[in-house]
């Protein structure tokens, strides 16, 4: 299911299949002085879902999260929690939402436990109940043995885990995570992804997960919204979104190097709809009916390029994004 931002009604029609929606964003626009950060954006989140919000840096994901969590007001449009607008009355939503900001929203000069105590108390937890909750969460995020250590002594991954833990202290029903794995090692990243999955499966926690790593969103999310430059450019389940490329093949070429002549001629093939060039890889999106293998091989021969491999890739969300915007997610 492809959505064009100029047709927001399409998106709304699609919601009726959701059922039991917790949160709905309806035709949200957010304008700042010079820029329009979000344009006619609509989405819904059903109870118990993991919903992905995918887009490159600057797409408007963080603005959507701030509006959804009642931190900023949209210029136009509405945000509903259980069918009630939160614009004027955000308190009910705030009670059940946990936010994991992209930044490490922790005090570096306090220990993990002191941070949790402080944030637990602002949710009016205290005494033995707070201590029990802290221990439980620290156990979940794997930081029990480091609870007395100052946060500034933690690795990036540990800080990220604690950042998530703090958002879970008050047992939120919905967890909103803004790029929670930015800048951390693969091991910590896996740990976080598994924790999110476990929270969803074991406790039925609803999750809105934003990232510009498509593989994370692909691994975690039931449904996905893709944003670019403030616009919603696609939404649906993984399969639905990948169907966008049903009529195309994504072909991956590998070589030790490329030369300009080869790339120019490759780009000149009429059937090549999109082309993405990396150091040793070229990704082509071409129409499925067309066989361009022989033409590519001929071009390589002509321009002295030694191709190491040519194969048809499984369609990924990255390919869909490339197809829709002409750019890679991490450009």
């Amino acid at each position: 299911m492809t959505l064009d931002s100029s047709h927001p009604l399409d998106a709304r029609l699609n919601w009726s299949h959701g059922g039991g929606n917790m949160i709905e964003l309806i035709d949200i626009t957010k304008k700042y002085k010079q820029t329009e950060a979000v344009k006619n954006f609509s989405m819904y989140i059903g109870r118990g879902e993991i919903v992905g919000l995918l887009g490159p840096n600057g797409a408007g994901k963080s603005t959507v999260i701030s509006i959804l969590s009642s931190l900023i007001e949209p210029t136009s449009g509405d945000v509903k929690f259980l069918n009630e607008s939160i614009i004027k009355n955000p308190q009910p939503l705030r009670k059940i939402i946990g936010i994991v900001p992209q930044e490490i929203a922790l005090y570096e000069d306090l220990s993990a436990e002191e941070n949790m105590k402080f944030f637990g108390r602002i949710y009016h937890l205290k005494g033995a109940v707070l201590q029990k909750k802290i221990d439980e969460v620290l156990q979940q995020i794997g930081l029990m043995d480091r609870k007395k250590d100052l946060v500034k002594t933690f690795s990036g991954g540990m800080k990220r885990r604690l950042n998530i833990g703090v958002a879970m202290l008050h047992d939120p029903e919905i967890l909103v995570m803004d790029e929670p794995t930015v800048g951390i090692d693969p091991q910590s990243r896996n740990y976080i992804l598994q924790t999110v999955k476990r929270l969803n499966e074991e406790r039925g926690m609803t999750v809105l997960y934003t990232s510009h790593y498509m593989e994370e969103v692909e691994y975690l999310c039931d449904r996905i919204y893709i944003m670019d430059q403030g616009n919603l450019i696609a939404s649906g389940s993984k399969e639905e979104i990948k169907q966008i490329l049903a009529s195309e093949n994504t072909i991956l070429l590998k070589a030790d190097y490329w030369n300009d002549e080869f790339l120019e001629k490759l780009q000149g093939i009429p059937q090549v709809q999109q082309m993405q060039v990396d150091e040793k890889e070229v990704t082509l999106v071409v129409s499925k009916e067309i066989n361009i293998f022989s033409e590519v091989a001929h071009l390589a021969d002509e321009t002295n390029i030694q191709l190491r491999s040519v194969h048809i890739k499984q369609v990924t969300l990255e390919d869909v994004f490339l197809h829709l915007t002409g750019r890679a997610l991490r450009d």
């Binding site: 969590s69 009642s70 931190l71 900023i72 007001e73 490490i104 929203a105 922790l106 306090l110």
Partner: protein, 420 residues
């Protein structure tokens, strides 16, 4: 909740050694340096102020007095008036009296006086051992008496030459001369009105003893002065520190976390205000306690001292929330940088933290319109022994400043999340 936030703030502050050094160590270091370096100038006695003065009289004073008396006889004034003036003149020998003053008990340890013949004037001008040369021109005493008793022109002028680097000695002599000129003016007035010159002499003797202490209250030592000066200046930095912490909380979305926990922005606002107030109070008390134990800076009226400290701490709390609100609004820390880099320096200069601005001077009046300047004036007044009631104007100003800052801060503070 507010207590939880203040406790967190205290933990953050105490775990930041650099911040603590700047807030607590710096004022102590500055008091030590300034108190010792400038203490001698302010306190008197501790600096070696011994200097040699040469006095050059171009005409003997006795001859001039005799000439004035003879002139009186021939002036055509009524004989009763002439007689009264003659009695007065007997006790009015300005140069001799001035020399007596320079050799008095109070000054004899400081001044080595040498009377030099006029023909050696050029020679002693090149003599490095003389710090000051006081030159009484011809007819000085005659003109002095004519001017003072008969209101005749010209008014005589004594010349004071001081060597480069001997400005302090020159100043001392100049002040003594000025003081005696004033004394003589009063004396002449009394003499012309038939008051016994002996009474005048006693009065002037009595007056002389009071000269070194201009105020009837206790003098303030340099260490006490700079303790106050450095406290009122450095505590202002605390406001910037509090605002910086708050801005960090905004920047890394901790403030947003609080808002999402349904913490009222006013709870946060009040926590910044109270943290600023409390830590300013603690910072002030720490430095004052240090000064008490190590520099002997004692307060004659502790209750009055404490009241001023609380008022000033409230003003610092007010500045903390004002800076916080503006930096939240602007989305950057420029205002706190501007405050700690420029405003504090200007306030400290006007308030008299760097050097005494002079009682009743324009600078002091201007300085009293800064919170630190008003607090400094109040502290100095208490230190001199005055009552707190004499400082109500300063306290009212500090309170108004604090509430003004809080009010503007409240109006400026963001109404929703930090980024709205």
């Amino acid at each position: 909740m507010i207590l939880n936030m203040i406790k967190k703030q205290a933990l953050l502050l105490f775990r930041n050694p650099m911040e603590l050094l700047l807030l607590l160590g710096l004022p102590v270091i500055l008091i030590t340096i300034l108190g010792n370096a400038l203490g001698s100038l302010m306190d008197g006695g501790e600096l070696d102020l011994t200097f040699k003065i040469a006095v050059v009289k171009h005409e003997a004073e006795a001859e001039q007095v005799e000439r004035f008396k003879a002139g009186l006889e021939e002036s055509g004034l009524p004989s009763s008036a002439i007689n009264e003036l003659l009695v007065t003149v007997e006790n009015l020998q300005p140069v001799e009296t001035f020399l007596e003053v320079l050799q008095s008990e109070e000054l004899k340890d400081m001044i080595m006086l040498e009377t030099v013949e006029p023909n050696r004037l050029d020679e002693i001008k090149n003599d490095e051992s003389f710090a000051v040369i006081v030159e009484f021109p011809e007819s000085f005493s005659y003109d002095f008496l004519s001017s003072m008793l008969l209101d005749e022109e010209p008014t005589p002028k004594a010349l004071i030459h001081y060597k480069r680097g001997s400005e302090i000695a020159g100043n001392v002599v100049e002040q003594i001369l000025t003081m005696y000129q004033e004394e003589f003016t009063v004396g002449a007035f009394l003499g012309k009105n038939g008051i016994d010159p002996e009474q005048l002499h006693q009065a002037s003797t009595h007056f002389k003893q009071d000269v070194s202490s201009i105020s009837p209250y206790h003098p303030v030592t340099a260490k006490a002065y700079y303790t106050i000066g450095m406290v009122v200046m450095n505590v202002l930095f605390l406001a910037a520190t509090m605002a910086n912490y708050a801005f960090q909380e905004r920047n890394i979305h901790i403030f947003d976390r609080m808002i999402l926990a349904n913490i009222s922005r006013w709870t946060y606002f009040v926590s910044v205000l109270l943290s600023g107030l409390l830590f300013a109070l603690l910072q002030s008390l720490f430095v004052f306690a240090f000064a008490y134990f190590f520099f002997g800076v004692k307060w004659p009226d502790f209750a009055a001292f404490f009241v001023i400290t609380v008022f000033f701490a409230l003003a610092v709390g007010g500045i903390s929330v004002l800076l916080t609100a503006i930096s939240f609004k602007n989305g950057n820390e420029q205002i706190t940088g501007f405050f700690s880099g420029i405003v504090v320096t200007i306030f400290a200069f006007l308030g008299g933290s760097f050097f005494p601005v002079g009682e009743g001077s324009f600078l002091q009046k201007l300085g009293n319109f800064t919170p630190n300047g008003a607090a400094m004036s109040a502290y100095l007044s208490i230190m001199r022994g005055e009552a707190i009631t004499a400082n109500l104007d300063h306290l009212v100003f500090i309170a108004c400043f604090a509430f003004g800052a809080i009010l503007i801060g409240a109006i400026t503070f963001p109404k929703r999340g930090a980024s709205s």
